[in-house]
């Protein structure tokens, strides 16, 4: 914590699909670690990042890919007072996804709203 105790706005900007690369899991780990510090945190899901929140991920079935399904961890975020989850509408629609496809409640926002949110941040962590 800074001596001033100032609360900063942190945004985690997620742009990668889960499993194919390590970015999605690493982002989530950093979010959870960062939750120990009292900051104002939001998560944005853009481009293939929207796939991170897809419901029904099954990685450990008999013939599965042998990786941990970490999607259920997004449900735990509200226990860390992280409840600002944003999905960019354009990214969602380009991939044929709808709001009900996501594992947690999210706010669907348009690109102008997302750029405005980004501009308000003190720090943007990009994954």
């Amino acid at each position: 914590m800074e001596e001033s105790g100032a609360i900063k706005k942190f945004m985690y900007l997620n742009r990668k699909a889960p499993y194919g690369t390590i970015y999605a899991l690493e982002s989530l780990e950093v979010v959870l670690i960062g939750a120990a510090f009292d900051q104002e945190v939001s998560l944005a899901f853009v481009d293939d990042g929207v796939y991170q929140l897809k419901k029904d991920q099954k990685t450990t079935v008999n013939s599965g890919i042998g990786m941990k399904d970490f999607s259920k961890t997004y449900r735990a975020l509200e226990d860390y007072d992280i409840d600002k989850l944003y999905v960019e509408k354009r990214s969602m629609e380009a991939r044929g996804l709808r709001e009900e496809d996501f594992i947690v409640p999210v706010q669907i926002i348009d690109s102008a709203q997302l750029s405005a949110l980004m501009a308000q941040q003190d720090v943007i962590l990009s994954f």
Partner: protein, 100 residues
């Protein structure tokens, strides 16, 4: 010839290059993040439809199940395959081109 594609069509141009260069009667298998191309409602669905009229297309089931994608939303005409059927395809077709 068997083309295998493991990158998301929205993140890389691997699939577009594959679709451009695949010849009639070639087979195309989508796996890992490549599976996202196989589902209805995306901005690239038309490109897939066009390719289906000349090539066989396959999608690896364990990879789309891991990513939460539903078999019922696979574009009709694309066949979902298991790991062992993937192996069969590599035996059946030669050469194999991996669009990394």
């Amino acid at each position: 010839m068997l083309h295998i594609v493991n990158k998301s069509p929205f993140d890389r141009n691997s699939l577009q290059s594959c679709l451009r260069l695949a010849q009639p009667n070639d087979a195309i298998l989508m796996y890992e993040d490549g599976i996202y191309a196989a589902f209805k409602g995306t901005v690239i669905e038309n490109d897939i439809q066009t390719t289906l009229s000349k090539c066989k297309m396959y999608v690896l089931k364990p990879d789309f199940e891991a990513r939460g994608m539903n078999e019922g939303n696979v574009i009709p005409g694309i066949q979902s395959v298991s790991y062992s059927e993937f192996v069969d395809l590599t035996v059946q077709y030669s050469p194999v081109q991996a669009w990394l």
